[in-house]
């Protein structure tokens, strides 16, 4: 049972962090807009040695479609999202959350999950966490969230720093990748981006 004051405090801290991130990066990037448009970002003056340019270029990350299926117990939960990158390569190095003491990164192969130290976010590519594939694993939850709750998750990237995502808790059967009854979540839910 989280005391409302504690929850409010956590929320305030998140907002503060998010603001800090916006201010900090806003100064660096002259790139601003491009909101919502997925995929091609033809604006960057990329010419010549593409590979070198991609490593040197600043990553532009956008996290979308984040969700956390309501867990069965407080022992374990999984989280999913897509990190799209319209800039240079980056690496997801760790994840933290106020709902769990420990968040680990996993990929799944042949029904077995394998812990990863980090995940590459390729230049002009995407890092995909989805059902049956890669997942974020939340262990020893502080409480059992309910469908409709929002969980704060921070993704730490080697070059882009920290992106904070408000991750909606969805029904246990939620599986947007499988083309079921669930459409794309309303924009804004479970998203974050570098400016």
């Amino acid at each position: 049972m989280a005391a409302p004051t504690a929850a409010a405090g956590a929320r305030a801290r998140v907002v503060a962090l998010a603001l800090a991130a916006v201010v900090g990066c806003g100064a660096l990037a002259g790139c601003g807009g491009g909101s919502g448009a997925d995929g091609t970002d033809g604006t960057g003056g990329r010419s010549g040695g593409q590979a070198a340019a991609d490593t040197a270029a600043r990553p532009h990350l956008r996290i979308s479609g984040a969700f956390l299926p309501v867990p069965v117990t407080t022992g374990l939960a999984a989280g999913f999202c897509v990190v799209r990158n319209t800039g240079g390569a980056d690496t997801l190095t760790s994840v933290t959350s106020d709902i769990a003491d420990r968040v680990t990164l996993h990929r799944t192969r042949n029904g077995r999950m394998e812990m990863q130290d980090s995940f590459p976010v390729p230049a002009h590519g995407a890092l995909d966490f989805s059902r049956g594939g890669n997942h974020l694993m939340f262990e020893q939850l502080t409480h059992k969230p309910k469908v409709g709750d929002t969980v704060t998750v921070r993704l730490h990237f080697r070059r882009s720093g920290t992106l904070t995502v408000k991750v909606p808790v969805r029904p246990a059967t939620y599986n947007p990748g499988a083309g079921g009854a669930f459409g794309t979540p309303p924009d804004g839910a479970g998203s974050a981006r570098t400016p």
Binding site: V72, N110, M113, A181
Partner: protein, 220 residues
């Protein structure tokens, strides 16, 4: 008529696994022999493979969540049965699969629900004791049956259904990681044969649509 390639590949894979297990086993159990699995070319759904001929129900005797002996063949004879191999320390596919089935089951008429048997066999028997399994499954559906026992027994039964599972393994940080099966096998109440294979991307809609047929032993 759409041609479906994915389930065919899955079926071929299944045959390959069966062939492998028969080579390794030498148990003399006739149901371990390779089965010529054919995908149904007309179902047109990637999450489902129709098996013809069907799988024989494994002769599996384990312990249920009340700590009592459970004979799969005897207890599920003449009952529509869904069988899945997974573990409770599984964050993604195991709870997803059981929740999909639980939600779909609730949409059947009460009397029909009572006929259906949903059996979850653990692939991590050391941690999934009858009590642990029971409390996890009750969150999904109190009628679900959970079975635990010797890993070798469980692995052998899974193999007979073309499902490959490895024993739990310790990670570098000390955490234990298990394998889950990637298929749910549906057994017909008419023949007791495993005639449908649902892959891990089967959704709650797939099960909701198909359960009314499965409880009658019909093809969806």
């Amino acid at each position: 008529m759409r041609k479906k390639t994915l389930p065919l590949a899955a079926a071929l894979l299944t045959s390959a696994v069966l062939a492998l297990s028969a080579c390794g086993g030498g148990s003399g159990d006739e149901s371990s022999k390779p089965v010529d699995v054919q995908a149904d070319a007309h179902s047109g759904r990637r999450a489902l493979t129709v098996l013809d001929p069907p799988f024989t129900k494994p002769d599996l005797v384990l312990t249920d969540t009340h700590g009592e002996k459970y004979d799969l063949r005897e207890r599920t004879k003449g009952r529509p049965t869904l069988l899945y191999f997974g573990y409770t320390h599984c964050p993604d596919i195991c709870p997803l699969t059981m929740s999909n089935i639980a939600v779909a089951k609730k949409q059947l008429p009460k009397a029909v629900q009572e006929k259906l048997r949903v059996v979850f066999v653990t692939t991590d028997p050391e941690r999934d004791t009858p009590a642990a399994l029971g409390s996890w499954l009750r969150q999904q559906d109190p009628e679900f049956i959970g079975l635990t026992g010797k890993f070798a027994t469980i692995q052998h039964a899974a193999r007979q259904l073309g499902i490959s599972i490895d024993p739990p393994k310790k990670e570098k940080d000390g955490t234990v990681v298990s394998t889950h099966g990637t298929e749910v096998v549906a057994f017909s109440p008419k023949s007791d044969g495993g005639y449908l294979l649902y892959h891990e991307d089967a959704t709650v809609d797939d099960y909701t649509k198909d359960l009314p047929k499965i409880v009658q032993g019909q093809r969806p």
